[in-house]
């Protein structure tokens, strides 16, 4: 269930700072899948009909929130770094956020 962290390779001789892809960045933290999403939208209809800005997508540092076909964002919860930004970003207060249970979710070694 747990992903083993993988240190991405970057050319050590590069002439300036190299920025890894988000995927490689997310590989640097351990993740234990709680089995179900700790994130949801409270009322899908609010996203579908009442939202034009999708601030959840703009604020998320881990590409958890993604555009969905029906106007309701798709949630890639297993990317989540548990910062909580989406909770405040949503102008409708429509983000349902619970802590992942029993030690699951992200684990930082450095922090």
């Amino acid at each position: 269930m747990s992903a083993t962290p993988n240190v991405p390779n970057v050319d050590a001789g590069a002439s300036s700072a190299e920025n890894e892809t988000l995927e490689d960045r997310l590989y640097t933290v351990r993740y234990d899948d709680p089995g179900e999403s700790h994130l949801d939208v409270k009322v899908p209809g609010i996203c579908a009909e009442g939202c034009t800005t999708y601030d959840c997508i703009d604020v998320c540092p881990a590409n958890v929130w993604r555009e969905g076909d029906d106007g309701v964002p798709n949630i890639a919860y297993e990317n989540c770094l548990e910062c909580g930004s989406c909770r405040w970003a949503c102008p409708k207060g429509n983000v349902d956020w619970t802590y992942p249970t029993r030690g699951a979710g992200v684990s930082y070694k450095k922090g």
Partner: protein, 458 residues
């Protein structure tokens, strides 16, 4: 307890062999971060039976911060000689970035090299928080990890009398609860102990820990450091965080550097690139990139920072409970001072002390904890927050000037002042002055600007 075997099969530590925690403790601390462990140490030292509940796999597993730990209260509480710190802060550097300019001021007071090093150390929370929680355990507290508090237990009269958890026998009652759950304070909000904060008052922060695989001396050489001295670089302006109100940072650890930035969530929408892209741009700035050349990412993290100041501090005491640390919004960011760790430890300590005093008298009502808000208000924590309460509003009003126009103007004026050609210096000085005055509105404008922000340095 059917899931114990399952948990063991996954190789996790299973701390709860004996489920009889219910009612076995005087106090429960929600969260083994800095505020929680400070409260736990304080109460355990006073002879209370303390249970610390941490939702991560170990203390620190869920914790991210920028990088500097301030230790004046901490070293009064515990023996810090064995604490896992990275480097002491020997330099503070403040830098304004336009898209391609940098104008910086650096301070390296000699006295910062002498212990206790102005009580400022870079640390990594994954290591430090584990160590601090161990100090609480050494003092007699019991630490329960991989356990999420999902709600509070209330008596009929509303008094908080314990916590609900995701354990099989989930309810754990105790006379006292310390809410030290951090800025994403779902338990406090769920129990109506505080209202959700506005997006203007919360910042999103992203950070990378970078290592330099090429050679060992890179950090010392690039940041001009000797032995275990370290540097704290702060960056403002559009080169740091684009159009948002916020800033970037680089902190040197022992073998790594922490690079990151934070800006207000209300600025994250619209034309502002996503946090990760904003970080990429900052790391690629011509004045920043050479510091990070050849580095690779060891860890990427994100967190939210409560920045509402003194007006956002919720009610700190309730019948049966106190709220401490980030959960109480105790973070100071006035641009020059970025503090939270010291305020977390101070508030955790004062909260724990108030509970110990109430326990002495056999009381659990909120009035019995009133020494906590009183001492916090008299302490540097609230004093500092109140002192800079005016700042964020003013910065918001002047945001274009401060974050975009001024970095450009300073760089242009500097380039003009030191221009090397065959014109006399008088002309260069005049043009430099003009370039600055054009941005701030002449001498009067400059004086007004200095006056508006005089309290920052007063």
């Amino acid at each position: 307890m059917t899931d114990d075997a399952d948990a063991d099969a996954k190789g996790r530590r299973e701390p709860m062999r004996d489920p009889s925690y219910d009612g076995a403790f005087d106090a429960i601390v929600v969260g083994a971060g800095l505020a929680g462990s400070a409260a736990a140490v304080t109460m355990a030292d006073e002879g209370l039976d303390v249970l610390v509940i941490e939702r991560g796999r170990y203390p620190g597993a869920k914790n991210v911060f920028g990088g500097v730990l301030y230790t004046p209260t901490l070293r009064e509480l515990v023996d810090v000689t064995s604490a896992p710190v990275e480097r002491y802060v020997a330099e503070k550097r403040f830098s304004m970035l336009s898209d391609d300019d940098e104008t910086a001021v650096s301070l390296r007071p000699g006295e910062w090299h002498d212990p206790p090093h102005n009580d400022s150390y870079t640390v990594l929370r994954g290591e430090f928080d584990r160590w601090f929680a161990e100090q609480a355990v050494d003092a007699g507290a019991v630490l329960l990890t991989e356990t999420t508090v999902t709600g509070l237990v209330r008596e009929d009269d509303g008094r908080i009398a314990g916590v609900e958890t995701d354990r099989p026998d989930g309810t754990i009652t105790a006379d006292y609860v310390v809410l030290a759950e951090g800025g994403n304070s779902l338990v406090s909000e769920g129990a109506d102990l505080r209202k959700p904060e506005r997006a203007e008052n919360v910042a999103v922060g992203v950070k990378e820990v970078l290592e330099f695989p090429e050679r060992d001396e890179v950090i010392r050489d690039r940041f001009r450091l000797s032995n275990d001295a370290g540097a704290s670089y702060h960056y403002f302006g559009e080169g740091a965080v684009g159009d948002a109100v916020g800033g970037g940072f680089i902190y040197t650890n022992e073998d790594t550097v922490s690079v990151g930035l934070a800006y207000r969530i209300s600025d994250a929408a619209g034309s502002q690139p996503k946090p990760e892209q904003t970080l990429n741009a900052f790391k690629s700035h011509p004045s920043v990139a050479p510091l990070l050349r050849g580095a690779r990412t060891v860890e990427y993290g994100a967190k939210t920072i409560p920045e509402g100041g003194s007006e956002s501090i919720p009610k700190l005491v309730h019948d049966g409970a106190v709220v401490v640390g980030d959960a109480a919004g105790l973070v100071l960011n006035n641009g020059v001072h970025l503090e939270g760790t010291n305020m977390a430890v101070e508030s955790g300590h004062l909260g724990g002390e108030a509970i110990a005093e109430a326990a002495e008298r056999g009381r659990t009502d909120e009035a019995a904890f009133k020494s906590y808000p009183e001492r916090l208000e008299a302490s540097f924590v609230v004093q500092n927050l109140e002192r800079y309460g005016w700042l964020m509003e003013r910065v918001e009003a002047d945001r274009d000037l401060i974050f975009e126009e001024l970095p450009h103007a300073l760089a242009d004026a500097g380039a003009e002042y030191f221009r090397m050609d065959r014109e006399p210096k008088e002309k260069h000085a005049e043009e430099a002055r003009e370039r600055l005055f054009e941005t701030v509105g002449g001498l009067r404008g400059a004086a007004k600007l200095a006056y508006r922000y005089r309290e920052v340095l007063r």
